[in-house]
Amino acid sequence: MSGEVVSTHSIDEKPKVALLNNPKVRGGIVQAALLIFIIWLIYNMVNNAAINLAKAGIASGFDFLNRAAGFGLNFSPFIEYTETSTYGTVYWVGLQNTLILAVLGVFFATIIGFLVGVARLSSNWVIAKIAYWYVEILRNIPLLLQIFIWYKGVLATLPGKRDSIDLGFVGQLNAAGLYAPKPVFAAGASWIFWAFLAGIAITWFIGRWAHKRQMATGQQFPIFLTGLGLILGLPLLAYLLTGMPVSFEYPVAGNFGPRGGMQVIPEFIALWIALSTYTAAFIAEIVRAGILAVNKGQSEASYALGLRPGPALRLVIIPQALRVIIPPLTSQYLNLTKNSSLAVAIAYPDLTAVFAGTALNQTGQAVEILLMTMLTYLALSLITSMFMNWYNAKMALVER
């Protein structure tokens, strides 16, 4: 705007600037329009759904959660479930099975991922190449296909139920899964559990003490071996002292293959293997990138101090790499949890399969059930990322 134009306005006369060019006004209008649009969209959707449901005479509301489900489930390790249980229980059983899969999957994926990631950087050519092809093959094949390969390609070709492969103490393996010996706890067995907890607690305290002592005097303490001894030894001691209250129920042969014992269904095994090996490929890349992100001078300095490659990696490189590794690792954990929903493809009774699948089909209440399912996964995601953010912040504090 030229000075001439400005001068035509008197002081108390408002300058005639197009409102459109006022960013605040424009922003306000855009936001209001967007908000109205979104509200209108949601209103329309809800309204349509209400009309459609009413017209179709479909029941709505969450009353169905108290109704008896009437169908059976073949996997519920911790929650008591029978055909007379309610749909609410079905939800919890599904969530439980999802969590079991996610926790065990994360555990194994992390171990395999770290091993493969370190192996990719190995100076050993064969090991590095094997790790490279492991990563490239696993992460470039769809997970669902890998699940099918494990389930239908590998596990389904195991011998039938009556010709189990005997794995000795581990149990019997056949097309219907692994029949492992089931521990039976007699009275007094809870002492073993408490001893185990006590072992962990004592190890933690010794660890703190050892760390303090090392900081003060430089003396080291074999904390790993001591801890291992305590965590394994105390329960063993308790086991012997309480008169060996744990026995094993072995599967016995019946007309339909092994009976009794603890059956690990093949759907679980297939998902577990597929999820952890697939996610491990991504974790391996993250670990590799994290280690490479540590300045080369750090490893050279540790070698110069006389550390061998193993301790150098463990004491110098990995602690620094972890800071780079953790944020992307979080999203891999989340991915694994969400990917566990592929269980629906092979009938492992996870949340998606039993709740968004079977329960939805039986009740027909799609809106409520899918809403609950999606919100549950959303909550799991948020909780995991909150935990990891906290952990991340804790790790970041170590930086000096």
Binding site: I29, Q31, W125, V367
Partner: protein
């Protein structure tokens, strides 16, 4: 050895000739390195057997390879069956075939027999040239776009984003889409093709009027926005018109589509639809307007927090309930909507990464030049940001490409769905049927995904120079 060196050596030799009886005037030829240090053996010593731990590792690795490789090769090549007409060709004696007991190997003739279905689904035979032509057109546009040294990038992009989708749509469906009116009540004018265009004109007029009033209400000049609106509506009208022209192609409905073709359709449409949406969401998330920002964050975090399969369930079971009475979407279209919304959230995060990587000075410079927000984004920020995130976009595409297999769970017959369906054919039912088809499927997916990953690596290295 340089000349000066040999000169000094000579001088020294002359000076000390008395003390030393003989000084050799030339250095000895270096001996060849011992056999254990060079060549294959040296390489092996250095890379495989330096130290007991590495030796152990190497032996372990070799043992691992010994476990895996012979089994895989035997199954896929040496023990595999290469010709036959039905399941008997791939069965051992116990199963009624002629192969020896305990035979295990791939059954390739079964893949051959189903090859057409795996690639094209149940697309009618006489019309097969259409999807093949679409494949050719797709790669004809894709390959020049991917190779940086090929000229005419702008033209190629216009072709890929504007012309190809329309041509592909007409070729695959057959075009000749009919429209009904949607605006005027039936009392004024009965539903017909003509009414659609009348309605379309009315709609355009309404939109122009709305734009005009909004802009005028804020004392702005409404000419440019209206011309822009008219151009957009005009282009859309042309596209709609071309889609309605009868080219004499038979109509092929989407339940007849399938196989790898459907996988590509979903992945390519999904990524094409999610890119603009993703950019919008990324800009929204970095916007100063609280409402826009909040909505973008909620949208992105919601879709990123739920598994794709529940999204697909939602689009297949719930979406019909959310639509007005009597409006139905094609099943494939519903899946596409779910996939596009889902990947848009991931795309938004990728683009956001690119936006954040642009130095603040670029924003400040653009603003100092007096550019408006959209001018700044369009001319300065987005070109740089999108260039940085090309590898990220390719990676998102790889992820989406693999995730398309999930549509088989909601009953669409994509590549994996078609393969699973073929297992119910008793003509080829053998114990090795499933694993054979999965190996084939895995191989194809691996080829595509690995290729794209290599490309993304290449781009990453190419783009790495210069910036930062």
């Amino acid at each position: 050895m340089s000349d000066t060196d040999s000169q000094t050596a000579l001088h020294r030799a002359e000076a000390g000739a008395l003390e030393i009886a003989y000084v050799r005037e030339q250095l000895v030829e270096p001996l060849p390195a011992p056999a254990s240090e060079v060549g294959v053996i040296g390489w092996m010593r250095k890379n495989l057997f330096n130290g007991w731990f590495n030796t152990l590792l190497t032996l372990f690795a070799l043992w691992l390879l010994y476990l895996i490789l012979p089994g895989v090769l035997n199954f896929t090549i040496f023990n595999a069956v290469w010709s036959g007409t039905d399941r008997l060709a791939c069965s051992d004696i116990n199963q009624g075939g002629e192969l020896y007991e305990g035979w295990k190997g791939a059954c390739w003739p079964y893949i051959g027999a189903y090859f057409k279905q795996f690639i094209f689904g149940r697309y009618p035979d006489p019309e097969l040239w259409r999807p093949i032509l679409v494949f050719i057109l797709f790669f004809a546009g894709l390959i020049p776009m991917l190779i940086p040294s090929v000229p005419f990038k702008r033209e190629t992009i216009i072709y890929m984003l504007g012309i190809f989708p329309l041509v592909a749509f007409i070729l695959l469906t057959g075009g000749n889409i009919g429209y009904n009116g949607f605006l005027l009540p039936g009392a004024i004018m009965a539903d017909s093709e003509l009414k659609f265009w009348v309605d379309y004109l009315i709609l355009t007029a309404i939109i122009c009027a709305v734009v005009h009033f909004i802009v005028r209400g804020m004392d702005g000049d409404s000419r440019r926005p209206i011309i822009l609106t008219l151009i957009c509506m005009g282009l859309l009208g042309v596209v709609l018109f071309i889609a309605s022209v009868d080219f004499g192609l038979t109509f092929v409905e989407t339940p007849q589509w399938g196989g790898f073709m459907m996988t590509l359709v979903i992945a390519v449409t999904g990524i094409a639809a999610s890119l603009p949406l993703g950019i919008a969401l990324a800009l929204g998330r970095r916007s100063d307007m609280p409402v826009v920002k909040l909505l973008s964050v909620v949208f992105i975090e919601f879709w990123r927090g739920v598994p794709l399969i529940t999204v697909l369930f939602m689009s297949s079971v719930l979406l019909p309930l959310f639509l007005p009475d009597g409006v139905t979407f094609d099943k494939l279209l519903r899946a596409l909507i779910g996939v596009a919304l889902f990947s848009a959230a991931y795309m938004a995060e990728v683009v956001r990464g690119g936006l954040q990587a642009i130095p603040k000075g670029q924003y400040e410079g653009a603003m100092a030049l007096g550019l408006s927000y959209w001018q700044m984004m369009q001319k300065i920020i987005l070109p740089q940001a999108l260039k940085i995130v090309i590898p990220g976009i390719v990676n998102t595409f790889i992820g989406l490409f693999k995730d398309t297999t999930l549509v088989s769970i909601i009953g669409l017959l994509d590549f994996l769905g078609m393969i699973n369906l073929s297992h119910s054919d008793s003509l080829w039912a053998t114990p090795v049927q499933a694993i054979t088809s999965y190996i084939f499927c895995a191989f194809i997916f691996f080829l595509f995904c690995y290729g794209m990953a290599r490309y993304s690596n290449y781009m990453e290295r190419r783009l790495d120079t210069g910036h930062r």
